[in-house]
């Protein structure tokens, strides 16, 4: 089974960390991840950029709507995620619109650029079986 662990925190505080604080916290987090990494059981890890860099594609009456900012409703819950590489935001918006169009019911796609802490190829076993 593959698991996603989602981190929720106060971004005002996290993005106000000084370089020293940031390094200290990241160091401790790395220590925690290391055994899992060595065992090949840790997938890509990243940190989302601040919500000010977010865009949301939401189901509209006709075409999906593109809104600035993070997803803000409380009725829906996080159900899945995609990661992709793109040169422009337009590409990501176009892809999200397509997803939105074929997804029945109300669905929103929050687009958040992120920094990769370490990439890897976890999931091969899952998809091949």
């Amino acid at each position: 089974m593959l698991y996603a662990i989602l981190c929720y925190a106060h971004e005002e505080t996290v993005f106000a960390w000084s370089k020293e604080e940031e390094e200290a916290v990241m160091g401790k987090l790395m220590e925690v991840q290391e055994p899992l990494m060595k065992a090949g059981k840790l997938g890509p890890v990243g940190r989302l950029m601040p919500t000010t860099a977010a865009t949301t594609v939401r189901k509209g009456k006709e075409e999906p709507l593109v809104l600035d900012g993070p997803f803000a409703e409380t009725k829906e819950v996080l159900l899945g995620f995609y990661t992709m590489e793109a040169d422009t935001l337009d590409e990501v918006v176009a892809f999200s619109k397509k997803l939105s169009e074929v997804n029945p019911g109300s669905s929103s796609y929050e687009i958040r650029p992120f920094y990769v802490f370490h990439p890897n190829e976890l999931g091969k076993r899952e998809t091949s079986t």
Binding site: E12, A16, M49, T52, D68, G69, L89, V93, P113
Partner: protein, 415 residues
Amino acid sequence: MTDIAWIELALTAARPQAVGALLRYFRDLDTAEEAFQEACLRAIRTWPEKGPPRDPAAWLIFVGRNSGVDAIRKRARNEPLPEEEAFSDLSDAEGDMADRLDSSHYRDDILRLMFICCHPDLPNTQQIALALRIVSGLTVPQIARAFLVGESAMEQRITRAKARVAKAGIPFETPGAAERVERLGVVSSMIYLVFNEGYSAGIVNPDSAAFCDEAIRLARLLLRIFPGDPELMGLLALMLLQHSRAAARFDAAGQIVLLEDQDRTRWDRKLINEALALLDKAIRHRQPGPYQVQAAITALHARAPSAQETDWQEIVLLYDLLERIQPSPVVSLNKAVAVSKLKGPDAGLELLEPLAERLQSYFYFHGVKGGLLMQAGRNREARDAFDRAIALANSPAECAHIRQQIDKLSVAEPL
């Protein structure tokens, strides 16, 4: 990170929203600040024990409002304060507190708090000092160190600025859409002033260099509450891009390193990527403004793998656009530099001609002119321009940088 360090960050983060709400409530800046201070003291006492609240700002507004009301009552009737016990359990009632505090006011509260610091009668430095004191909550000694003045002088300056603001009358009515846009523009300029105060100080004065981080924090805060404003995205992107070069702008001896000579591996890629993401968002709005265009220019530098690979053609086009939407001799000066990169020093010098009168007391004008004359091999004239620049330098680092240029001249052709 210790509990106290976390609490301090949380208090700073919540400050604009909390003081803004308390100001709306009490309609008096001093009362609002005192009430917030009291709430912070209580937070430091109770949070380590009871754990931090989920919404620190709502907690602080609630507790601050109660303590402010008590203070007013006490002043009015000279009655003793109620026992601590009587309201200490308030901190447990925070569950529905956020609902009871009208959250729709938040963004206008924050905007108002920033806006009152931008009173047009206040000179730039006082606007910066006031914003850092009121919005960011920096202490007077911190601000005094950054501006290289004594504490009592800074205290006086801030008190005077506050009196000016109070006399002008704080606009409490909810702003209309057009007014809101106007306030956003004014506040954006103030934030950029704060940034530039830090940016120009560079590494010479670390106390004011911290203003860059502060300005970025304030812009992020503003963009979170006005998420669809492309100029705010542009402003934040611009500051992130300029700040991304912080580690490369000065050498080990504290001397200025020009953009073209900077070690680009020392640019902060994280900040650059965030800025590029913001710029991408802004461009989708198709409403170009001065901050967006300046950010786009800076982004072209950030995208170039080396100085030689800079897309000067595109930069000149963007300066043309900037000259149209925000004409200023400084913009034209920057354009002249870009043109000289594309077409050589003579083309740049030609564009400097008409600016000479208006920029005659501007350090960069003479620095740029000297540089272009040197490139064109007109060393004697270059020397004159550099001498003029030295006379106008704003810092020892600027002075030293021009001396280096003069040294190059002397090597080329002993004077």
